[in-house]
Amino acid sequence: MKKIHFLEWGLNSPRYWGILAVLAAIAGIGGLSALYMEHNGHWVTGMSNQVVWGMPHIFAIFLIVAASGALNVASIASVFGKTPYKPLARLSAVFAVTLLIGGLLVLVLDLGRPDRLIVAMTTYNFKSIFAWNILLYTGFMVIVIVYLFTMMERKAQQYNKAAGTFAFIWRLTLTTGTGSIFGFIVARQAFDAAIMAPMFVIMSFSFGLACFLLLLMYVYRADGRELGDSVVLRLKNLLGVFVASVFYFTLAYHLTNLYATENHSLERFILLDGGVYTNIFWIGQIFLGTLVPLGILYHPSLGKMRNWIAISCGLVVLGAFSQLYVIIIGGQAFPMQMFPGKTIIESGFYDGVNGMAASYAPTLAETLLGIGGVSVAVLMALVVIRMLPILPISLADKDVDPHAS
């Protein structure tokens, strides 16, 4: 393998600043939306006492999960010693950190009392997975930045493998923690499933790689650097495996649920007659987010074309949002079973009268807050690659020998 040279992102200034301005504007609108929500209170959102987590949580969890997944490329290089991935490691680490920052911003700005962030950072209840996650998230950023340093500073290179291994273990723990938020909630049927934790890990592989691949293809095309097939095809094949794995976990989740009679009504709700959730599950998650991208990625000719690969990455992201929507919102909309064997026929506080699901309709503000978070993640990544030598000058096939591992 040739020596890899790194260079700052060389987009011409007007275009670069133009892109930053657009992203900053979107982020700013997200910030204003958060301000609007905080000023008025959450009643202006679609969230209520029935569906307590909404659009911001979908975006936040997507970004956090994708963050740990984006680090995978670096992990494959330094933990598993696959040299073809090595040139991509820096970008992978940078994007991991910025995605996480974007996600945390959304999560924090949705809090009822974001002004009390300092309380969250100083007062811990260690039985809470949330409290652990606060430590896991902040720790992740520090560790990945150190890891990035070991990649970029010659003197620190001897610690690269150790830092990479530590970061890899940390990120697995982090995603397990994120998945566990939904895995240990005994109150709600949809969330009372230990499979959530490993499923979130595999979801992170898939979502993170899709985001990474999109960013990689964009930044290389934008400043005219060569990006060879050996890199892209390798990554898209990996993405295909991850998408299929997520599908497998989804299948396992629903099939195990279907076995137990007590979960039949929940499964019926998600798979058959849950209206919007059923549609999002089948059309968004399964068809557009899983089957179509798999078909494209493994198609003998389409699977080699950049635009089609980009489209399938986009579809994987769409499928990711669909999946999180079904899990997070669908799981809350399905009425809690407080009285098995009985039907609630009247209630002063919703409670799923006659099995009716709780309603949730996302408003513009909470959606814009989420989009703002995505924008912050991309914006920060673009600033970093512009200022630091993160991107290899060329990823052409002749410069990256695919058979070197």
Partner: protein
Amino acid sequence: MADKNNLLANKARRSFLGKAAAAASLTVAPGVVLQSIAAVKSGTEGVSDNTRWGMLIDTSKCADGCDACVTACASENGLPVHERPKSDPVWIRKVKLKDNLTDSVTTLPMMCQHCEKPPCADVCPTGASFRRADGIVMVDRHICIGCRYCMMACPYKARSFIHEEIVLKPTHTPRGKGCVESCNFCVHRLDSGNETTACQEACQKEGHNAIIFGDLKDSSSEVSQALRNLPSREIRADLQLNTGVRYKDI
């Protein structure tokens, strides 16, 4: 700094001694006050686990169409009404059930069940959701960050988030935008020695007497005796949360 701590410790000690002669207290270090707590419920003693507040709800006495407990709770605790039922806070609600096999109908009030092992307190990242020594599950608003994880975790849907600015708030039930709250067994009453809750009082006034409230650890209390003599159950007993609220005839 030490001076200030001393002042505060002395201050605290004086308050205890002055207000409650029964409490012997001792300053062991600046800022640290030890006190031996006699089981007095006068409002100047710390609560202890010699008491566990609890309730028995006799659903056979709970009248269909009556919501005296709900309105009493709302006025006692100043529950705000913004005419937005999805986001207005509810501490207690009436639920009407129909048995799937027999079609028999039951009505009952639902509220925080004051679990011995509350899932809301387990998941709370800051420890704002907590269980007081005397069994009352409540929210320390001062450290609640409004993440709503407790609302996700509560098996009884007992909690409400304050979705908007509160202009008029009662002195004994502080409330503000962005925090979570739920039934606290009218804790301000209990702390000042009044051992009834607003809902119980209202139910009694209506002549239904469906709610019996009291100290579960006091074997001579009305609620303990009733629990001994009547068959009752917990809602979601499968979770083994050992709730402080029990129901008869569901």
